[in-house]
Structure formats: C-alpha cells, structure tokens
C-alpha cells in the first residue's frame, strides 16, 4: 500500500501516458503513471502496425498528427534515446477495382480539403515506388509525407526517458475508482488499497477508461475490438513505405530489422471471442496472409514467426476523446483512439502536457471534446 502525491497522475502506461509523462517530466512537473498490467505499453501501444499516417484520418484529428509529423517525429529518436525507426517515405493505399478507386478518391478529396498532400496514382506509378506489388494493383492514394515507426521502441523510449527525468511509474496496479475532494478530482484508489493524490489526473487507459470515468459520472461511448497482426522473419530490404488497402485487407511495412509487420482482419474483429486476454483467433492470421498475397505475391515464401492480438478502443465516431472535462475539475481524458493512436501519440503527449501545464493547447482539439456525442434524433 502506497500513499503518494504528485502534481499529475496519469492512469494508463501506454504510449499516450508515457509520452505525456515525458513532456511533463521534461518541464519538471512531478508525474506518476499507474499501469494496471505488469508491462509498460502493453495494450495497443505495443501491438499496432507502426503507421505514422495522416492520410485516411478524420479532419478532426488530422491537425494533431500533422503537427507531430512536422515538429516531433523527425527528431524523436535523439530526444528519447532510442531508435524509433521513423521513416517518412510515404503511404500507399492500394486498390484493384472501380469500387476501390471510389473509396480512395473519397479519402483523397477529404485530405486535400484540409491541405494534406495526397494524390491518386495509377498502377504503374505504384510499381515505380514498390516494384514488387502485384500487377492487379491499378490504383492507389499516395501520401508522400506519411511514414512508419517502431511502436515498441518508441513507447518504451518515452517511458525510459520520462523515468530518467523523474516520472514515477508503477505497473501492476489497477485503478478502481476516481475520487473527488471538495468538488475537485484529486484521488485515485487502487486495487491494493493505495491512494494516489494529485492536482490533475489524466485518464489514458484505452477502453478501460470508460469504467474509470464512470466513477466520476462521465461516459465515453466506446467499445473495443480485438485486432490482429503478424510479423515475418527478416528478409532482404524491399521497400520503405507504409502500405494499406482500400478494402483494409491488410496494412503494414517492412521494419529496419527486415521483418514485415502486417495487421489485417478476418472481418469478425468486432465479434471476436476472448478469454480475457488478447488471444489470436485461428481464422485471422490466415486471412491476413491471403490479404497480403493478393497484393504482394512475392511475400508468399516469407515465414511468419509470430502473431498477436490487441484491443483497440473504438469510439462511437471513430476519433479520440481528448481534453479537459470541465464538469470534473482536474480531469483530463485521452482515450478512444480507435486503432490509430500510435502515429498521433507524440502530438497527444506534447499537447496534453501543455494543456496540463498551461491550460491551453497549440492545436485546436475542441472537436474531440468528450461531450460531442449526441443522440441522432
């Protein structure tokens, strides 16, 4: 049992929590991070495909990720003392037919409207970028400023550096309840009876945030779905781009190590059965493989060495919930990243730290406010 006081408590030791802790600690704010599992970054932070994408994103969150790609990602490796393996070599979203073309055109138009450079290119142009792609690929949307990075080293790099700067991390401690003191959120109570106190408390616990927020009367409409990914053996270097498809059959990239990391779906992600651990299903990895081979026949011989699954916290409208909760003074929320929280995480950490320290952000996040959800009729 611990009784501990800090300026800020962050609930959730994923990349959002670690990054925020880092930017706070860098500014000499005392911060404590509480992680329910035994591991730092054990949720989506360690299980995602590593995309650092702007294309395909909702305009409400796009400014944040653009900010991150401009200001944070390029020098992040030096800043947090790990090789984040950040590559800014573009994102290709592939298509094979008219239907795909329509989807890609829609995404491209939406991106262009908010000033993001995304172009439609034809199959030959695609194969100029990655010669190994199937001839069946006839169209793609191409965003040259997108990229990818290593989620494992990035998450743990934020943790490592925040820890070094004095941020306190506790793993294996589950927050059960948030508690107000005289009308302001001050305390968190944990499963072992510990009480942590702080002036500001940020909830960044993925899907688990919902239950926690409930203890102070706040609800974020989200559900969770189990997404799966796989990694191959190391192979000779083939390409540096991030890949995806109009149909979302698969997405992924080749890592610096040489292995290919791909995520994908069987179509049943929303209905996957679990035994309380993110366990893979027997149908998904084969489906991902078939998805990849449809676009990338050369990878047929690549050997898969590991598959895994991870929860994504899906918000009702597909974008995160971010910012202060005015009706609960002292509460900040950052959750419901809906499966695309990694690339945006540095920007979130940076902006949430600013919000905590100064009360404002550089980027307007009002469209991501928690109270945006209204009944349709």
């Amino acid at each position: 049992m611990i009784s501990y006081k800090a300026d800020v408590i962050i609930i959730g030791g994923g990349i959002i929590g670690c990054a925020t802790a880092y930017y706070l600690a860098k500014n000499n704010i005392s911060v404590t991070v509480l992680e329910a599992s035994d591991y730092i970054g054990n949720g989506g932070s360690s299980r995602n495909g590593g995309g650092v994408r702007q294309s395909g994103r909702d305009p409400r969150e796009l400014p944040l990720v653009m900010y991150g790609i401009r200001n944070l990602w390029p020098h992040l490796s030096e800043e947090i003392g790990v090789d984040t393996e950040y590559h800014q070599d573009g994102n290709l979203r592939l298509g094979k037919n008219v239907h795909h073309r329509e989807i890609l055109q829609g995404l491209t138009d939406r991106a262009n409207k908010v000033g993001l450079d995304v172009r439609m290119i034809d199959g030959d142009e695609v194969r100029k970028i990655i010669p190994y792609l199937s001839d069946e690929v006839t169209v793609a949307s191409w965003c040259p400023t997108d990229g990818h990075a290593n989620p494992l080293t990035t998450t743990l790099g934020y943790y490592k550096t925040a820890r070094k700067l004095g941020a306190r991390f506790y793993t294996g401690v589950k927050v059960m309840e948030l508690r107000k003191v005289k009308g302001e959120l001050r305390r968190v109570l944990t499963d072992d009876g510990s009480v942590f106190e702080a002036d500001q408390i940020m909830v960044a616990a993925g899907y688990e945030s919902r239950k926690l927020l409930g203890s102070v009367g706040i609800d974020v409409p989200m559900t969770r779905s189990l997404l799966e990914a796989l990694v191959t053996e190391a192979e000779p270097h083939l390409f540096d781009q991030m890949l995806g498809t109009a149909d979302a059959d698969f997405y992924g990239h080749q890592t610096k190590h040489g292995s290919f990391v791909f995520g994908g779906s069987s179509g049943f992600e929303g209905f996957n059965k679990d035994n309380c651990t993110p366990m893979t299903s027997s149908i998904t990895a084969p489906a991902i493989c078939r998805g990849i081979m449809k676009y990338f026949p050369d990878l047929a011989d690549a050997k898969i060495v590991r598959t895994w699954a991870g929860w994504s916290d899906k918000s009702a409208d597909g974008v995160p919930v971010l910012g202060r909760v005015e009706e609960v003074p002292g509460l900040i929320v950052a959750c419901a990243f809906t499966g695309h929280g990694f690339g945006i995480a540095p920007a979130i950490g940076d902006q949430m730290a600013k919000l905590i320290m100064s009360g404002t952000t550089d980027i307007d996040i009002s469209a991501l406010h928690y109270d945006r959800f209204k009944a349709k009729i």
Binding site: G267, F268, M279, T280, S281, S282, I283, P286, A287
Partner: protein, 545 residues
Amino acid sequence: MYYLRYMAGAKVPLSERNDMKRYDLIVVGAGPSGLSAAIEASKRGVKTIVFDENARPGGQLFKQIHKFFGSKEHKAKIRGFVIGQQLLDEAGKAGVEVVLNATVIGLYQDKEIVVKTGDTVHHYKGDSIIIATGASENMVTFDGWTLPGVIGAGAAQTLMNLHGIKPGKRVLMLGSGNVGLVVSFQLMQAGCEVAALVDAAPEIGGYGVHAAKVARTGVPFYLSHTIVKAEGTDHVTGVTIAAVDDHFRFIPGTEKHFDVDTICVAVGLSPMSQLLKMAGCRMSDDPKRSGQVPIIDGHGETSIPGLFAAGDVSGIEEASSAMIEGRQAGIYAAEFLGFISKTEMDNGEEKLDAALDGLRQGMFAPKNRGKNIEKTEEGIDISRNLLCRGFIGDDEIERFPGVTHKAGVHPVIECTQNIPCNPCQDACAMHCIMVGKVITALPAVDPSLKCADCGMCVASCSGQAIFLVNEDCGDGTATVTLPYEFLPVPDEGTRGRALGRNGQEVCDAEVVKIRTSPAYDHTTLLTMSVPKEFAMKARFFKANA
C-alpha cells in the same frame, strides 16, 4: 467454425469443406508420454489422433540407445529405441492415428489446434487435448559458445543415433547429468573420442553407474570446472576449461586446454510448455519441475477443462515416468470424455500410480532434487570418488553389498546408489542376486549360491555395473568379464591393457572369451585374463595399438 471460416474468405463452399476435423482426443507429441496416452485412450474406445512434428515418432526414445532402468513394468533393461518401437506397435494395434511431419503451430480457444502438414494448415478440434510436447535443452554461455562445433547434447544424439553422423572427432562434454553421461558414452559408441567431461558442480549430477562406465574407458572428469573459452575463428578447434570456486568464479592458473572439434552442452532440460501458455493455461515457474509448467491437478488436467499435460512438459523426469504419466493422462481423458466410469478409471490408475511411485524413489527422485545425500538407504557411505571423479575408488568398493568374494566365477555388482532398478535380480536364474521388495535397494550378492557364469546379469544391468570375476584361476591369473558395447570388438587372444575404474592402465590383459547372444541384446561380454592381484581393479579392456 465452419461458418466463420467460410465467411472469412475461404473459396470453397461450406458443404464441400472438410478441413475442420473433430476428434475425441488430440494428442500433441508422439514421444513416450504422448504415445502412451493415445494407446490407453484408444483402447477405451476414444477416437484419438496424435500429431508430431518429426519425421519419426517416438520422440527422444529413438535417440536413447542405452538400456532403461526400472523394473519389468517400466520396461527395464530394454533399450530406449526398442521401447519406442514397442510403443508404436502397441499404438498401431490400439488403432491410434499418428500423423508425422505435422507441426502444431497453435493451440487456440475452444480446444482447437492448427496443424501444418506439407504446404497446408488444417484445423482440428478435440473434445479433449493432451499436450505431450516434452522438453528442450538448456544452454549456458561461455566465450565462443556461438561457434560452429558447439552443439547441444541432444543435437549430438540426433546426429549420431538418428542420422548416423559423427558429431565430431574429438568432443568435450559439458554437464555431468544423466544426459551428459549417457551421451558421452554414446559418442564413444559412435566412434568419437571424448576428451573430457566437465561440470561446474562439485559432484556429478547423474547416476553413478553412468559415470563409472564412462570413467573406466579413460575419460577424465573435471568437476568444479567449466569452460572458459571455445577456441577457433570459424569453428571450434579447441577448448580451455578452468576450475571454479564455490561461487562459480574461475580460479586463475587452473586453465587446461584440449584440442577438440566439438563441444557438447548438456546442462539440463526445460519443459516445452509454450503451447499451454499460449492457450491461456495457468502456469507456474517451478524449479523442482525445471521451469515453466502448467498448473495441473492430480489427473494432469490444466486450468482449462479437458486440456491435459503429460510427460516432461509438466516437469522434467525420465522417459519411463513420462510413459506412465502418459498412460494415466489417456485414462483420465477417457473418463473426462465419458468412455469409462470413474471406478474404471480408478482401477486402471492404481497400478500405474504404484509404478510411477516406484520410479520416483531413491536418491535421484524429484523430491530429493537439490538435497545432499551422503549415505545410502542401507546406511553405507556413498563413494566420494564416484561423486567427485566419476568412479569408485578401489578402497571404497568393498563396503557395498554387491561386492563379495568366493572361489570360482561370481558376480561383482558395483551398484552403489539407490536407484529404482532391479533387472539383475530376475536375470540370475541361480538367485545369487537380491534387490528385494524395495526397488531402490542396493543389489546384494549371496556368495553361498553358485554362479552359473551365464552372463545374464552382466548384460541385463542397464548401468553396466556388473562384472563376473574369477579371482583366482589357479595359475596366477584372474578373469574379469565385462559388458562391452563398442566397435570393433576385439577377438579372443587380443592382447592389451586392463584399465582400472578410473580409466588408468593397471596391468596387461588378454581377451580370453567373447560372448554374444540375442539375450544379451547387443551387449558383448568380454572376458579378459589379468594377473590375479588385479581381479578387483581391472574393469575395462583396451587393445594394444
């Protein structure tokens, strides 16, 4: 599941698909425990399939060419690979379906497995599943341990006993557990030279009889020593060892160099329990079971109902125990599946329980792991030389009940530790040899009874610890008959040197008789003549070059 996978993009319509197969029982691993489990389940009407990733079934049994310890019911004095063949025959008769070259790549929820065979994967569901995946070898690190030529002891066994390839010309063995001792002997049987046997521990870890049969051929034991460095740039060309202190730190100045091309590492086994962990079974890290094992109940059932573990995967023991555990798991699964009643299960189990209990006795029993045992159950001091140098001192041997003296040929049994083994007792038609009811008791020789010099005791001793000695032939010589399992077998009349228990030359010797017999099961009985004062010292024969 059919529906799901069809929806997931499979091209073949549901009605034509036949790739999800369901069995009452799926066994993963066709080693001693897996096959045994499948046999017992199948015999009780359970539709059983066994998958194994290897091209040959039998697991480690086919690499084990020595005779097993135990009693009759444990298949004692039968060689491992023969037991493997017997199990296969039994499995065939019981109607067990064994699929080889079939890698179980995953154990999923709802007791589903995905198996790779050839260029396809197949889904199977079992109403119960027994995981019998065995163990994998531990490793230690030393300078140069990644060089080609540093191999696991299991690799050596695989190469020589399965594929007929010599692992090296001159080998240094690291590890004095049973694996290290047995594999050292097997290396010599394969025609390799064993330069030394090294262990950082101050005492040998395996059975003394296994050590003694290696030591008497002249292999030096270096206990409280370990490898400093594997030498060589592209592959092993030599090795340096050094003595270690109580904290396993090298003692400077004690370095010894050996020219070897191979270093064999035999530093223990760990349960290969990844499939169980993957499936979400509750696990525990149990040093007494040598690693990460599933938490199982008295029936081998894991925290997932219907999912059982048997053999080394649930804790490292001998193959003999694995076979019994497997049989038990098969019976439990049959009960779980409703093929037999609880009473029938209990009836079948009782005998097996007793058999397993028998194997788990003696100074090497799992319960005695880590204990320092100085006296036998009979209260006799254990040979310090045996523990620290691999052989019994000439001055220590007389205190054991298997060593007696009389005129004429008589057995001398140099079995000095309590291990669960008694074939010698049955081998002697004249009842000279007595182990008694307690299977771990030291065999005693009754000098009042006549020895027929049939040699059956010599050949039946899995530890090669029995000699037939005629201490005084009347002409100043004595004869010593010893088990010999090497090639070439010297012809009668071959002259050479007799080696002592420590492998040092003690006197001149001449081979006077060579006996082979199907009943000896590939153990040749070599009788050598030595000066009679060496009757109780000469224990091995080396022909003159």
